[in-house]
């Protein structure tokens, strides 16, 4: 029984988006490092998938941000140590930032190399920058290094989620759990 309007769980739409995008983002990171380290025939479909999925994830993160702004998020447990609270807040801002920036960097990087941006389904995106050696170099380096940072942050996020689920058992994991809501709420 809730005494306030504050939700205990993220909404169903938010959870669906979280887990769909989680799968998509992990796939993007593995496809990214895989495709740039192969000369096999799979290179061509991997690159096309990377571009297409990247654009799709960019569209999804905009919806997700809108939901976050309108529906909010359940509060963190009151007994969460300040360091973990700060880590939770900062890492979530960083994750949102990367979800928005990475597709734009990829699109800009291809534009600065004068590559046509062709997605599955013969969808063509216009360039968002003119060809530029220096911009391409900068954007490519940013896309690459931020991808590694993104993966590291996701590992931290997974470790923290499991820590909440298995060690603290404080309801934070359940707030975003893909499983049906449990009848009994964790004690607060």
């Amino acid at each position: 029984m809730s005494r306030t309007m504050t939700p205990v769980h993220f909404s169903g739409a938010q959870r669906l988006l979280h887990w769909t995008m989680a799968a998509g983002i992990v796939a993007m990171l593995f496809i990214g490092v895989g495709m740039i380290s192969t000369v096999a025939p799979s290179y061509v479909p991997l690159v096309a998938t990377h571009k297409t999925l990247g654009v799709a994830l960019f569209a999804l993160v905009l919806v997700r941000l809108a939901l976050r702004v309108t529906l909010g998020a359940p509060p963190l447990p009151a007994d969460l140590p300040p360091v973990m609270r700060l880590g939770a807040v900062l890492s979530h801002w960083a994750l949102y930032g990367l979800m928005i920036v990475m597709p734009l960097l990829g699109w800009a990087m291809l534009s600065a190399a004068a590559y046509p941006v062709v997605l599955f389904g013969d969808i063509r995106l216009p360039p968002i920058l003119p060809q530029s050696d220096s911009l391409h170099t900068l954007l490519w380096a940013a896309h690459r290094w931020l991808a590694f940072a993104f993966f590291a942050l996701i590992l931290l996020h997974v470790a923290a989620a499991l820590f909440h689920a298995l060690v603290r058992r404080d309801g934070v994991f359940e707030a975003m759990s893909p499983l049906p809501q449990r009848k009994t709420m964790p004690e607060r």
């Binding site: 990171l29 593995f30 490092v33 895989g34 495709m35 740039i36 380290s37 192969t38 000369v39 096999a40 025939p41 799979s42 290179y43 061509v44 690159v47 190399a113 004068a114 590559y115 046509p116 062709v118 013969d122 063509r124 060809q131 050696d133 220096s134 391409h136 170099t137 490519w140 993966f151 590992l155 997974v158 470790a159 499991l162 820590f163 298995l166 060690v167 603290r168 058992r169 964790p186 004690e187």
Partner: protein
């Protein structure tokens, strides 16, 4: 609190550590960090470098070249094979590059056996078709791995090459071409071949494997490499600039259609004589521009950049070339300061 003080956190923490370590290991494996034997684009491109190291700021192969512009005059015949706009009747703008297959932009013309042409045709529907062709009718090796083997063997001398040919006897067809095909003293007299097979899909959805060639309109005037050497180390670029300034130069684009059973996956295998061919149009080159400030300089002639109606086939090379060309492009654009553009006239010069 529901947490029991008697429950040890060791097991959950071990589970978390295993999940994180396992994910990181899977990522490292996918990135190739745990597989030093994997043929990556970086290793392929590094293997192209001459003994003194790569020419910074330049393409890692086909490094010596000159830009051109012109148009592709499509006669409409290609519509029978592909729905690509480029094959509808009309004239579409072209950007390209004549080049020599060498990692050294300063190589003397007569020291380079293979010549190439990078080509980009753009159509008003926004489609871009890029290709990078060379003058032999067949390629040297059947697979990208064999090409890497060739790059490693060639500098080691005749014994290493003998061993290489033992591993890759298909190389002999290319060696036969290199030993017997006439040299010319003009890019305008050279044919340029796609070598790789691609798929053309027509408006009805029928897909056919094809290769294409650009056949020169200019009469071929054979010359020995010794005679070419006497004309100077950069004769080809001087000659094509003068020749095009005098009159536009033309090539006919001929598309050859495979029949069922033809080997489309191996560019060392020519298809049998008598295959259906379609003349789809004429490439007209009407301006030649030096590379440092030329429009081809910053273009990657990636053969997988294709219009709707053309796609890659089971030939493994376009994917490998795309991957390696991207690596070369990333390297050379980051080294642009090592390949300065020509200062605009009037600016201070030392």
């Amino acid at each position: 609190m529901s947490r029991s003080s008697s429950r040890s956190p060791f097991v959950p923490l071990a589970v978390i550590a295993m999940v994180v370590a396992g994910s990181a290991a899977a990522f490292a494996y996918t990135a190739g960090w745990l597989s030093p034997e994997r043929l990556t684009p970086s290793r392929l491109v590094a293997a192209l470098a001459p003994p003194g190291g790569p020419a910074l700021g330049h393409r890692r192969n086909h490094a010596k070249g000159i830009c051109f512009t012109g148009e592709f005059q499509s006669n409409g015949n290609g519509m029978a094979l592909s729905k690509a706009k480029v094959f509808t009747p009309g004239a579409w703008p072209v950007l390209g590059r004549f080049n020599l297959a060498t990692p050294s932009p300063k190589a003397a013309d007569a020291t380079v056996r293979v010549r190439g042409m990078g080509l980009q045709i753009t159509t008003p529907d926004g489609d871009v078709w890029r290709s990078a062709m060379i003058d032999p009718p067949i390629f040297a090796v059947s697979t990208p791995q064999a090409f890497y083997d060739l790059l490693g063997s060639a500098p080691k001398g005749p014994e290493a090459m003998k061993a290489f040919i033992g591993r890759h006897p298909e190389f002999m067809a290319f060696a036969g071409w290199a030993g017997s095909a006439p040299w010319t003293s003009s890019y305008a007299e050279d044919p340029f071949n796609s070598l790789n097979s691609f798929l053309f899909t027509d408006a009805a959805g029928t897909t056919r494997a094809v290769r294409w060639s650009l056949r020169p309109a200019a009469t071929q005037m054979p010359i020995t490499p010794e005679e070419l050497a006497r004309k100077g180390p950069n004769y080809l670029e001087q000659e094509i600039a003068q020749r095009v300034a005098g009159a536009p130069q033309r090539w006919t684009m001929v598309v050859t259609v495979a029949e069922p059973g033809d080997n489309t996956a191996d560019p060392t295998k020519a298809w049998p004589q008598g295959r259906r061919t379609v003349e789809v149009g004429t490439l007209v080159v009407n301006k030649v521009i030096a590379e440092p400030d030329g429009p081809c300089r910053d273009i990657n002639f990636d053969p997988t950049i294709l219009p709707r109606g053309i796609s890659v086939s089971d030939d493994p090379f376009p994917a490998a070339r795309s991957s390696a060309y991207a690596r070369s492009y990333d390297l050379r654009t980051s080294e642009a300061k090592d390949y300065p553009r020509t200062p605009v006239s009037g600016s201070a010069k030392p």
